[in-house]
């Protein structure tokens, strides 16, 4: 989406001429810049906040603009990873005796319960992660596989009494 796309849709949706729409849209962004310069912050509800931040070495007092999206928008963007939290694995990651399985990367994420042959004893399943994002990168690495195996070993010991081991997540 460009500014010209915005101008066209505004002109069509509000029944104003293209020149009028162009003026208005340009004025919108210019007014935002003015406000930001004046007050050092600019908050737009349900969108985000712009902030002026001084550079680290503040000799020249150069200000840069930082944008933080609103919570809902950020959650929506991070939808595929929103259930993941940072974790501290209990034991250190020792080198496992079993060889880590080589994953041949497809496009992006990989359904781990299809690709990695997890031994039948551990019932743990990895949460599947799928994503249609512009940046296509492989996120399953050997470390993650080792970590998963390490954690599921611990879980099996811990969940012996509860019996809730059918849906144990990698990330807690």
């Amino acid at each position: 989406m460009n500014k010209s796309d915005i101008i066209s849709s505004v002109s069509i949706e509000f029944g104003i001429s293209k020149e009028q729409s162009e003026k208005t849209v340009n004025n919108i962004f210019f007014a935002m810049a003015q406000e930001l310069k004046k007050r050092n912050t600019l908050e737009i509800k349900k969108f985000g906040k712009f902030k002026l931040i001084p550079a680290k070495d503040n000799i020249n007092k150069y200000l840069s603009i930082r944008f933080t999206p609103s919570e809902k928008l950020a959650q929506r963007i991070n939808g595929n990873f929103s259930n993941l939290k940072k974790i501290k694995p209990k034991n250190g990651l020792d080198v496992l005796k079993e060889k880590a399985v080589e994953i041949k990367p497809k496009d992006d994420f990989v359904k781990t319960d299809e690709e990695i042959p997890i031994p039948a004893k551990t019932k743990a399943k990895d949460e599947t992660v799928e994503k249609n994002s512009p940046s296509q990168r492989i996120l399953i690495s050997e470390d993650l596989i080792k970590l998963h195996k390490e954690i599921t070993k611990d879980e099996k010991r811990n969940d012996a009494g509860t019996g809730n081991s059918s849906e144990s997540n990698l990330w807690r």
């Binding site: 989406m1 460009n2 500014k3 915005i6 849709s9 505004v10 949706e13 509000f14 009028q20 729409s21 003026k23 208005t24 849209v25 004025n27 919108i28 962004f29 007014a31 935002m32 810049a33 003015q34 406000e35 930001l36 310069k37 600019l42 908050e43 737009i44 969108f47 985000g48 712009f50 002026l52 150069y62 200000l63 840069s64 603009i65 930082r66 944008f67 999206p69 928008l73 950020a74 929506r76 963007i77 991070n78 595929n80 990873f81 993941l84 939290k85 940072k86 974790i87 501290k88 694995p89 250190g92 990651l93 994002s133 512009p134 940046s135 990168r137 996120l139 690495s141 470390d143 970590l147």
Partner: protein, 92 residues
Amino acid sequence: MIKEDLIKKISKDSKLKRKKTLKVFDRVIELISKDIKKGKIISIEEFGEFKIKRHEMKIQYTKNNSRIVFPPKDIIEFNASGNLNRYINSNE
């Protein structure tokens, strides 16, 4: 309060009624956020660019030989254009 002042200024400069400029303003923001959610890059000339950046999974090694694992994350990044940066840092 701040939004009202913004709308006042915009409607004055664009010679458009305030109610309409408010709707236009909201619609512009809505268009941008909708496109961000679809994962598209939004580049507004002489203002800046909004795009989605992915932080990969990170394993941090701590002193006690233990590790912290940070999950991957998608964030919105805004890069202001040169003109905007110059305007912000000018002495007008």
